[in-house]
C-alpha cells in the first residue's frame, strides 16, 4: 500500500496555501448531540432498556468510561471553542468540525474514533454492549460518514462477546468510509486469544485495529491499570497512562498474535510513542536472554512492532533541547510507525499546524499520510 503515489491522491478541498501533502488526522472524536438521536437505532426492547428511567438524574452518563467521581478532570475535557454554536457537546456537529478543524488545517481525512462507546467498558451485559455499540456505529455511519467524504470511521467493538463483535465487523466493515475497528481495552490484554474472532474478522475485511485509551483504565475493579497502584489524581494518572498501551503492544507480540494473524495492523492512538525508545531495545535484549519463555515469538520482538504497529503523535512530547528532539525522533524505524493525530476537540488537542511543522523533513510524508495509508489502505482516501 505504501507505494501509492501522491499524485494518485485526490487533493480537492485542500487549501492552496498548504504544501501538496495529504494530511490524515488519526484521532478526531465525534460525539452524539443527544442520547435520543440513537433511539431509532435500537429495537423497542433496547429502547426500553436504555431510555427507561430509574428516576436518577444523569445527563451524560455514557460519554466517558472514566469515573468522574474518581479522577475528575481539573477543567473541561474539551476545547471551549469546539462547542458548536447551534448547541450540543464539543465534537457533536460534523459541519462545525469541518469548519474548525478540517478546513482551516487542510485535513484530507479525519479518522473518527467515537467515544460514547468508551462507556461500554462498564457494561456487565454483553448483549447490551453489542446493542449500544451497533446503534452508535450505525448512527455515525449515517450522520458523519454520510455528511462528508473527508470523514473515515473506526467502528467500535468490545470483548464482551467477541463472536458477536466479529459478526458486527463483517456486517458493517464494507460500508464506505469504514476503515478500522476500534477495540476497547477492558479486562483482557490485546494479545489474549479472546480477541481472535475480532482479529480474524478485521483481517478478512482488511480493516486495521485501533486502540485508544477509553478512560476506564485504573477506574474499575476489572479494568486495566497503570503499574504500581492507584494514582491519586487526574494529572498523575495521565502521566502514567501510556504504560497500558505499551503493555498491550508487548502482550500482542509475546502472545504470538502476529504469528496467528500475519496481516493484522494495529494503530495505537493517544498512548504516546516516545516510550518505544526504551521498550523496543529492552524487549529484544531480555528476549535474547530468555527465548524459551515464549514459544510464540519467532524473531526479535521489535520486528513485530515495526511491522504491525503504528503510533499516533498526540500528545507530542515537548523536548527541552534540539538534541533531545532529534533523539526522540531517532527511534529506529520510527519513520515506519508514526502517524499524525490531533485529538480534536479535546482539551489537549495538538494544533495540526504546530505539530506538523515540527515533524522532521525526512519523516513528513510518512507522518502526514503514508503510514496511515499503510495501516488503513487506500480507502482512507474516499474521494
Amino acid at each position: 500500500m505504501s507505494d501509492t503515489k501522491m499524485s494518485e491522491v485526490n487533493m480537492t478541498n485542500k487549501p492552496e496555501a498548504r504544501a501538496r501533502i495529504p494530511i490524515i488526522d488519526c484521532d478526531v472524536h465525534p460525539l452524539i448531540s443527544d442520547i435520543n438521536v440513537l433511539a431509532p437505532y435500537f429495537t423497542q426492547e433496547w429502547r426500553d432498556f436504555f431510555f427507561g428511567s430509574i428516576k436518577q438524574q444523569s445527563e451524560n452518563g455514557f460519554v466517558y468510561a472514566r469515573a468522574r467521581d474518581r479522577y475528575p478532570h481539573p477543567n473541561t475535557t474539551y476545547q471551549l471553542d469546539a462547542l458548536p454554536p447551534a448547541g450540543g457537546p464539543a465534537g457533536s456537529d460534523p459541519a462545525f468540525t469541518i469548519e474548525k478543524l478540517i478546513e482551516p488545517y487542510g485535513i484530507t481525512t479525519a479518522l473518527l474514533l467515537p467515544q460514547e462507546h468508551y462507556g461500554v467498558v462498564r457494561f456487565a451485559n454483553s448483549k447490551a454492549a453489542a446493542a449500544f455499540e451497533n446503534a452508535n456505529n450505525e448512527y455515525l455511519i449515517d450522520h458523519w460518514l454520510g455528511h462528508d467524504k473527508r470523514y473515515a470511521l473506526a467502528i467500535t467493538v468490545s470483548d464482551h462477546d467477541p463472536h458477536q463483535a466479529a459478526q458486527d465487523i463483517r456486517r458493517l466493515g464494507d460500508k464506505p468510509g469504514v476503515v478500522g475497528v476500534q477495540v476497547l481495552i477492558n479486562k483482557n490484554m490485546l494479545g489474549s486469544s479472546v480477541f481472535d474472532p475480532i482479529y480474524a474478522a478485521a483481517c478478512d475485511m482488511d480493516l486495521a485495529i485501533v486502540s485508544h485509551q477509553n478512560g476506564g483504565e485504573g477506574c474499575y475493579s476489572y479494568a486495566q491499570a497503570p503499574a504500581g497502584g492507584a494514582p491519586r489524581f487526574y494529572g498523575e494518572r495521565h502521566a502514567v497512562l501510556p504504560q497500558i498501551g505499551a503493555a498491550n503492544v508487548l502482550d500482542m507480540v509475546m502472545s504470538g498474535t502476529f504469528e496467528r494473524f500475519p496481516k493484522l495492523r494495529v494503530v495505537m492512538v493517544e498512548w504516546g510513542f516516545s516510550w518505544l525508545a526504551s521498550l523496543l531495545p529492552r524487549m529484544d535484549y531480555l528476549w535474547e536472554k530468555n527465548r524459551s519463555a515464549t514459544p510464540f515469538v519467532k524473531r526479535r520482538p521489535s520486528e513485530y512492532v515495526v511491522e504491525h504497529f503504528k503510533f499516533a503523535t498526540q500528545p507530542l512530547d515537548e523536548a527541552a533541547r534540539a538534541s533531545e528532539f532529534q533523539a526522540m525522533f531517532g527511534i529506529p524505524d520510527l519513520d515506519k510507525m508514526l502517524l499524525f493525530s490531533s485529538d480534536y476537540p479535546h482539551y489537549d488537542t495538538d494544533n495540526p499546524d504546530v505539530i506538523l511543522a515540527k515533524i522532521p523533513d525526512s519523516m513528513k510524508e510518512a507522518v502526514y499520510w503514508r503510514n496511515a495509508h499503510d495501516a488503513f489502505g487506500p480507502r482512507i482516501f474516499r474521494q
Binding site: 494529572g235 525508545a277 526504551s278
Partner: protein, 341 residues
C-alpha cells in the same frame, strides 16, 4: 578507571531459610519451621521470579571479602519478596532475622547492606530503620513495592527515619509484582508470560517516580534520595517530559507541586545502569538526556545473577561513561548515606 567502584545494587541470599532461625526471637522459628516455607527457598532465590521453569539454581554464598575495592551495596533479594506475602506480620519477623543475618554475614570493608524493611507496616519499617540505621554496616534502606505508591503519606514515617539517619532508599522489584496479590501490580492486566512481566518492570519505577513527584514527597523530605535499581534508565527522558507536561497543563490542580517535576527528579531521584545491554548504541539515544539527567545514573552490577560487570558496562557505554557512573555513585552516597565510599 581511577576511582574505586561503587556498586549500588548487588544481591545476596541464604541457601537455607533454617540459617535464619537463630535470629528469630520467641517461638517464631517454630512458626517458620515447616517444609511449606523452608522448602520455598528456591522460589525466593529466583530473585526476579521471571521464570516458570521447574528448577532454580541455589544461591551461592556471598563472601564480603570478595567485594572489589570501593563499595558494594548488598540487597537481601529474598527479603524483597515479602511484598507478595499474605502474612504481613510474619514478613516483619522474617525481615528482622534476615537483616540481622546480613549484618552478621555480609558486611566487610567494602561491603555494606541495604536494610530491607517491611512494606506492610510503615511504622514498623521506620522502627527497623531507627533500630539499625546507625550501624556502620547499613548504608541504605530498601522498600519492597506493594500496591501503595511511594508518594502516599503512609510512607512518611519511613522517609522521616531515612532522612533522620541520612540513608537513601533503594527500590528493586522482587519479581512477584504483577503476579502475587498484594504486591505492586504491573501495567495492563494478566501478562502473557514471566518474560513480559520482566520487560514491564520499569513501569513500576515510572509510576513511583510520578507518585513521589505529584504527591510532593520531596517537598516534605527535601533530603530524601531514592534510587530505582535494576530498572534500566532509558525510560527516564520520556517520563520526565510527560510529567512536566502534565504539571504545565494542571499545575493549578496541584499547588503543592511548586516546580515542574523534573526539578525534583534531578535532585532526589536516581536510576542505575543494569541492564546495560538494553542501552547499546548510545550515540543514537544519548541526545535525549540532559547532562543533569545523566548525572543521576549510577552503576549497579545485579551480581550474582545476570551480571553486568564493569567490563560489560564499558563495552556498551565506553570508559568515560563508566567513570561518570562511578562519580555519580560517589555523589549518591555522599548525598544520602553515612558510609565511607
Amino acid at each position: 578507571m581511577t576511582n574505586p567502584i561503587i556498586d549500588c545494587c548487588r544481591f545476596a541470599g541464604v541457601a537455607r531459610f533454617e540459617e535464619l532461625f537463630p535470629y528469630m526471637e520467641g517461638g517464631w522459628k517454630y512458626h517458620f519451621n515447616r517444609y511449606e516455607w523452608t522448602g520455598a527457598v528456591d522460589l525466593a532465590s529466583n530473585h526476579i521470579r521471571v521464570s516458570d521453569r521447574f528448577r532454580h539454581p541455589p544461591v551461592a554464598p556471598y563472601d564480603p571479602a570478595s567485594a572489589p575495592e570501593g563499595l558494594s551495596i548488598v540487597l537481601a533479594h529474598q527479603g524483597l519478596a515479602v511484598n507478595g506475602w499474605a502474612d504481613t506480620v510474619g514478613a516483619g519477623v522474617f525481615l528482622d532475622a534476615l537483616n540481622a543475618y546480613a549484618l552478621d554475614q555480609w558486611v566487610g570493608p567494602h561491603s555494606k547492606i541495604a536494610l530491607v524493611v517491611s512494606p506492610h507496616e510503615p511504622t514498623l519499617a521506620a522502627e527497623q530503620v531507627r533500630r539499625h540505621g546507625a550501624n556502620p554496616g547499613v548504608v541504605a534502606v530498601s522498600l519492597p513495592l506493594t500496591g501503595t505508591l511511594m508518594g502516599s503519606r503512609v510512607w512518611d514515617p519511613l522517609y522521616q527515619a531515612c532522612t533522620d539517619l541520612n540513608l537513601p532508599v533503594i527500590i528493586h522489584f522482587s519479581g512477584v509484582e504483577g503476579s502475587y496479590l498484594g504486591a505492586a501490580p504491573l501495567s495492563g492486566a494478566s501478562h502473557a508470560n514471566p518474560l513480559s512481566r520482566h520487560i514491564l518492570m520499569p513501569h513500576l519505577a515510572e509510576s513511583n517516580i510520578a507518585s513521589l513527584s505529584f504527591e510532593g514527597t520531596f517537598y516534605r523530605f527535601p533530603d530524601l534520595q531514592v534510587l530505582f535499581a535494576g530498572f534500566g534508565f532509558r525510560w527516564l527522558p520520556s517520563l520526565v517530559r510527560r510529567m512536566d507536561q502534565e504539571w504545565r497543563n494542571f499545575r493549578s490542580d496541584m499547588p503543592w507541586v511548586k516546580e515542574k517535576p523534573s526539578v525534583k527528579v534531578l535532585s532526589n531521584v536516581w536510576a542505575s545502569s543494569y541492564p546495560v545491554g538494553e542501552a547499546t548504541n548510545p550515540a543514537q539515544w544519548m541526545g535525549e538526556f540532559s547532562d543533569a539527567l545523566l548525572d543521576r545514573i549510577v552503576f549497579s552490577s545485579n551480581a550474582p545473577f545476570d551480571e553486568d560487570g564493569p567490563a560489560q558496562v564499558k563495552e556498551v557505554l565506553g570508559d568515560d561513561w563508566f567513570n561518570r557512573l562511578v562519580t555519580n555513585g560517589e555523589h549518591f552516597m555522599r548525598l544520602g548515606a553515612t558510609a565511607e565510599a
